[in-house]
């Protein structure tokens, strides 16, 4: 029971956070325009993606298809990492006003690309972990009967509700603190998540032998925080923490933060204006 609540919470919290932050940001804009359509369109596409992926996971038996699924998951993680990072940069550039700086057609086309990026991000956020949630709920739910099944359904709903409450608590932060503080906090959360997705993708590539590990492991910090425990697993999901990191992973993690801090430091006005 408790384990079901936890699994559903864990599988849905990531999507809720990403979509929740995008939604809160849009809602605080002076003029959201079609923004909400892109966001909810993305969520709908994500649900379709989750169902499609879950169906494939249920049906896939051949070895080649299993491998293709793994490659697809790696690609999706890396794309999500890029999209989240790009979204944070975009949101920061705009601050609270979406309307200004739309004089030229090229800028408008650029804006359009960002909206599609937002839709794609919402779709991936829901679809990625959503597929696993569907498999878990469908499979584990069917495996039970009678009152156990009712209990299972109740636990699953509690997991979703808890995930939503977790996000709601975060969004309340924008009331207690200033919008600026809330937004800064959201940015850090999103960038950490992007870094964690990058770590996950790179780690899988090392696991397949596509990337050399270089030194493996560089250290063993499992006595401090084991990444295979529940708490360690959550911290790994949201920061990219690993108890036995390979040197390749550390290098890519460091490079990510270097690039991001460089991009964030560039003055927004300079970048959005043509030279």
């Amino acid at each position: 029971m408790g384990s079901t609540v936890f699994i559903v919470w864990r599988e849905s919290i990531e999507a809720m956070l990403v979509i929740g932050i995008l939604y809160t940001w849009l809602k605080n804009q002076a003029d959201t325009g079609n923004g909400m359509h892109f966001l909810w369109g993305g969520v709908l596409a994500g649900i379709a993606l989750a169902l499609g992926l879950a169906f494939i996971m249920l049906e896939v038996q051949s070895e080649l298809a299993g491998e293709a699924l793994e490659y697809f998951q790696i690609a999706i993680m890396l794309i999500a990492a890029v999209l989240i990072t790009q979204m944070v940069l975009w949101m920061r550039r705009h601050g609270r006003t979406l309307k200004h700086n739309l004089e030229t057609g090229m800028q408008r086309a650029h804006e359009q690309a960002n909206w599609w990026g937002m839709a794609a991000l919402a779709a991936i956020a829901v679809g990625r972990e959503g597929a696993e949630t569907v498999i878990f709920l469908y499979g584990a739910g069917l495996a039970q009967s009678g009152s156990a099944q009712l209990q299972f359904i109740a636990a699953a709903i509690s997991g979703f509700v808890l995930a939503f409450l977790s996000f709601w608590l975060l969004s309340q932060g924008s009331r207690f603190f200033s919008w600026k503080v809330f937004f800064r906090f959201s940015e850090i959360l999103l960038l950490l998540l992007a870094a964690a997705l990058l770590v996950d993708g790179v780690d899988r590539m090392i696991g397949l032998g596509w990337l050399p590990a270089l030194v493996d492991p560089v250290w063993d910090s499992s006595f401090l925080l084991d990444d295979s425990t529940r708490l360690g697993g959550i911290i790994a999901t949201f920061t990219g923490y690993r108890a036995h990191p390979a040197l390749m992973l550390l290098l890519i993690y460091a490079a990510y933060w270097l690039v991001v801090s460089f991009l964030l430091r560039q003055p927004a006005e300079l970048r959005s204006r043509p030279a």
Binding site: S3, E63, E70, F136, S228
Partner: protein, 136 residues
Amino acid sequence: MNTFSVTAKTKHATNQRMDIYKRTNMHKIHLASLLLLGGLLLSISAQAALPAYKLTIKDGRFEPETITVPARTRFKLVITNQGPGPEEFESKKLRKESVIAEGVTRSIVFAPLKPGRYRFFGEFHPDTAEGHIVAK
């Protein structure tokens, strides 16, 4: 007149050079695709020859719970979930995570491991589903 013929000559020379470029590029592309195809065939045949180890999931447990594999050798794990319910094979140390629905058999390829003991667990049954891969 003079200027014109020079321009024409230069143009001709440029065209010839472009032709050579195109041909060499074509050549490179052909070579690259051949290499790629060869690599793909090699990797498929290498995979078919990979040592395989069976792992069964049943009633929230792994069977066997310890799998001994040769160190520094690629291998694959053929996981069958007999249920009831789905399971997620997970190991951060082994860099793997795979949801396996009931009744599904899936194989996972592992890069060569250093000698050691690697823990894996079933995320949907974290209290009971646990095992180790021992690389010797």
